[in-house]
């Protein structure tokens, strides 16, 4: 028991997400060990690619993981969440497709240009949210409610009331597999984004600045930190993440559907941040926790699908697991559990003493 406790302490914030993923792995091992089998198959283009449930999990969670990274930063700096990421991703995706469709043929240059344009658009909307939060001091959830309400309609408007499709081998490569590489491209993109975050945190003091703004904004300001700018910056960074996620989402399907692109992802993203052990009230944060949180959610979903639960019913089971996770993680329950443990231990100690007598 003692060793387990030490193990808990050493992991700190990451305890819950890692325990959650372990529980899911053990559950799946008992249920059906073939869940973990990874094979190499030929896809339609004739490339040999990795396949299997585990790959589906890691591939499917890509957008969620990217959004969770940005959301962690916003949560830490502002003490609130952006509920407009799904809508903003639809806008970014529409902008991406708009540029792709403008020319006759799609070359690598067009795709890069379209991606940069999508980034700029998403950053503008991020800056809009950020201005409301940082300058006008509106709670993030309320401020982003505006874009949540009208975002998908704006995407519809950009598309001109249609759901345009894009057909290009480059787009298929982004959403699926690059010829010759067996790992899904979205997974590679997640790795690249994570490395960029790591490098930024390593070479700049963004991490510590964000934490101090989140813990106490006015104290940070008195220490010479421009807390308004940090908050704004966190929303702009989230904007870039949104653009990347939106472009992946569009590339996967090869079309933009404003209604269904990354639908309900805002709730899953916030959940990933919470499962990652980050305080939703701001302050200290760990991006790695959120990434693991994203994979926990996706693994849970895929496990339920493997158990033949229909896609609409998944939500109910997901809710039960979420509640169990947060109850286990709640400080009150932890304190009570520890009290119970010490009581049991002291009880045992007394018994042994009595026995000795």
């Amino acid at each position: 028991m003692d060793t387990k406790k030490k193990f808990n302490l050493s992991l700190g914030q990451l305890t819950i997400p890692i325990i959650a993923i372990l529980i899911l792995v053990v559950f799946n091992l008992i249920r059906d060990p073939s869940f973990f089998s990874i094979g190499i198959t030929q896809n339609n283009d004739g490339n040999s690619v990795l396949s299997g449930n585990l790959i589906t999990v890691i591939n499917g969670a890509s957008e969620l993981a990217i959004l969770a990274m940005g959301m962690t930063l916003v949560t830490a700096a502002c003490g609130g969440q952006d509920i407009s990421v799904g809508a903003a991703a639809a806008i970014a995706g529409s902008a991406f497709v708009k540029i792709l469709k403008s020319g006759d043929s799609i070359s690598v240059g067009t795709v890069i240009l379209a991606f940069l344009f999508a980034c700029v658009v998403a950053m503008i909307f991020g800056a809009f949210n950020g201005t409301l939060v940082a300058v006008f001091k509106i709670q993030p959830m309320i401020a982003t409610l505006i874009l949540y309400t009208c975002g998908r309609s704006i995407a519809y408007w950009i598309n001109g009331g249609a759901t345009p499709t894009v057909q290009s081998s480059i787009i298929t490569a982004i959403g699926g597999f690059i010829p010759g590489i067996p790992v899904p491209t979205p997974v590679l993109i997640v790795v690249i984004v994570a490395i960029i975050f790591k490098l930024v945190f390593h070479f700049t003091s963004l991490e510590i600045l964000t934490q101090s703004v989140g813990i106490n904004g006015s104290a940070a300001r008195l220490n010479g930190i421009n807390s308004t700018f940090i908050k704004l910056l966190s929303f702009i960074v989230l904007g870039v993440c949104v653009a990347v996620a939106g472009c992946i989402g569009v590339s996967r399907l090869g079309l933009i559907n404003h209604e269904t692109l990354l639908i309900d992802i805002e709730m899953d993203t916030i959940l990933a941040v919470a499962i990652g052990g980050n305080n939703l009230g701001g302050g200290k944060f760990k991006i790695s926790g959120s990434i693991i949180g994203a994979y926990v959610i996706q693994m849970l979903t895929i496990t339920l699908y493997a158990m033949k639960v229909s896609s609409t019913d998944v939500k109910a089971y997901k809710a039960i697991v979420i509640i169990l996770l947060v109850v286990i993680g709640s400080p009150v329950v932890k304190a009570k559990f520890e009290k119970l443990m010490t009581k049991l231990r002291s009880g045992k100690a007394k018994e042994t003493v009595k026995g000795a007598e």
């Binding site: 969440q81 409301l132 006008f136 001091k137 509106i138 709670q139 959830m141 309320i142 401020a143 409610l145 505006i146 874009l147 949540y148 309400t149 009208c150 975002g151 998908r152 309609s153 704006i154 519809y156 408007w157 009331g161 709730m267 916030i270 959940l271 919470a274 939703l280 009230g281 229909s310 609409t312 019913d313 998944v314 939500k315 109910a316 089971y317 997901k318 809710a319 039960i320 979420i322 509640i323 947060v326 109850v327 709640s330 400080p331 009150v332 329950v333």
Partner: protein, 342 residues
């Protein structure tokens, strides 16, 4: 002299100021619509239509206002409404009794409220996560109950659904010379009762004042001897019960259960509460303001439709713009006032 002016201004609290702004904007907007667009806006029936369509939204927003004043958030309300509709419809179709159906609606709402309240106030889990899980659970349960739309075939319920309160003096004469009275559904009456009950609770009862104290500053509320945990628990229970009532009213309006019922209602309710002057930080808000918030939201949508912006995206874009306007206005007004106080 200066003193008197100061004294007169002082009693207008943040709550009342924000509510006054909302009500005046609603009236100005409606008058403008009457003047510029005319048509349906000139008939009192327009207001009754708005009420008929939004009775359940009004009830849900009342519950949300209580929770938001207490400094929390409940995003499960729409999903609970949908679950209540579906379970009541299935129960009635399998030969149930209307009275028991009402109890079933209240019971489901109460169950959600109890669980949310316990997890949030006694286990201290973030309200957003708990009610998000509640929302997922209710939505999932709705589809587990039935994926296909279900129509109520119960005769007694059909009779109840078709009860319309007719107010003849507010009616208008149709082209063929018949007098068409203004019609109001039973749900609207229930909605009004809920609004008045919540208003009295918040304004005159000890419990209601505790909500404000708790939302304003939890530490000071604790110092005043308020049982903060129990008060927060009760606020979620009330919100759950009102979601249950709202579900029954929703069913009386549509007469059918559908898995996509009340989709996005939670966000509409939050938007209505914000427009009505309730702050998400807690401690400020008024249920009358929330009522006008719902009406303002609906009026905007009606205006967009009747002013010829037929493309499907305009309705949401205008709503978003209007929300932005209200949020900015409140932020500016409140920060100016706080600046003056210093």
């Amino acid at each position: 002299m200066n003193n008197i002016v100061e004294k007169r201004r002082e009693p207008l609290s943040d709550t009342k100021l924000l509510m006054t702004i909302t009500i005046s904007i609603f009236i100005v907007m409606y008058l403008l619509a009457m003047g510029l667009l005319g048509g349906g806006f000139l008939h009192p029936q327009q207001i009754f239509d708005m009420l008929n369509d939004n009775a359940s939204l009004i009830i849900v927003s009342c519950g949300l206002t209580i929770v938001m004043i207490g400094g929390g958030i409940d995003i499960s309300v729409g999903a609970v409404t949908s679950l209540v509709v579906m379970s009541c419809v299935l129960y009635l179709n399998n030969g149930g009794n209307i009275f028991v159906a009402v109890l079933l609606a209240l019971g489901i709402g109460l169950a959600f409220g109890l669980v949310h309240g316990y997890l949030i106030s006694y286990l201290e889990i973030q309200p957003f996560i708990v009610t998000l899980a509640g929302m997922f659970f209710a939505r999932g349960m709705t589809t587990i109950l039935s994926v296909n739309p279900q129509k109520v075939t119960h005769e007694g319920f059909a009779a109840l659904r078709d009860i319309k309160i007719e107010i003849s003096w507010l009616g208008y004469t149709a082209k063929n010379g018949n007098l068409v009275p203004a019609r109001m559904e039973l749900g609207v009456v229930i909605a009004f009762i809920c609004v008045i009950a919540v208003f009295i609770l918040l304004k005159y009862l000890r419990l209601g004042r505790c909500f404000y104290a708790m939302g304003g500053n939890q530490q000071s509320a604790l110092m005043l001897g308020i049982n903060v945990k129990r008060t927060r628990f009760i606020s979620y229970v009330l919100s759950g019960c009102l979601s249950g009532i709202s579900g029954f009213v929703f069913m009386m309006h549509t007469g059918a259960g559908n898995a996509t019922n009340a989709a996005g209602m939670e966000m509409n309710a939050i938007a209505a509460a914000i427009i009505g002057g309730t702050l998400l930080t807690g401690g400020v808000g008024n249920v009358i303001g929330t009522f006008f918030g719902v009406m303002t939201l609906t009026t905007i949508k009606k205006i967009v439709v009747s002013s010829g912006l037929n493309d499907p995206w305009w309705q949401n874009i205008t709503t978003g713009g209007m929300l932005c306007f209200f949020i900015l206005l409140q932020s500016v007004v409140l920060s100016r006032r706080n600046g003056k106080k210093k």
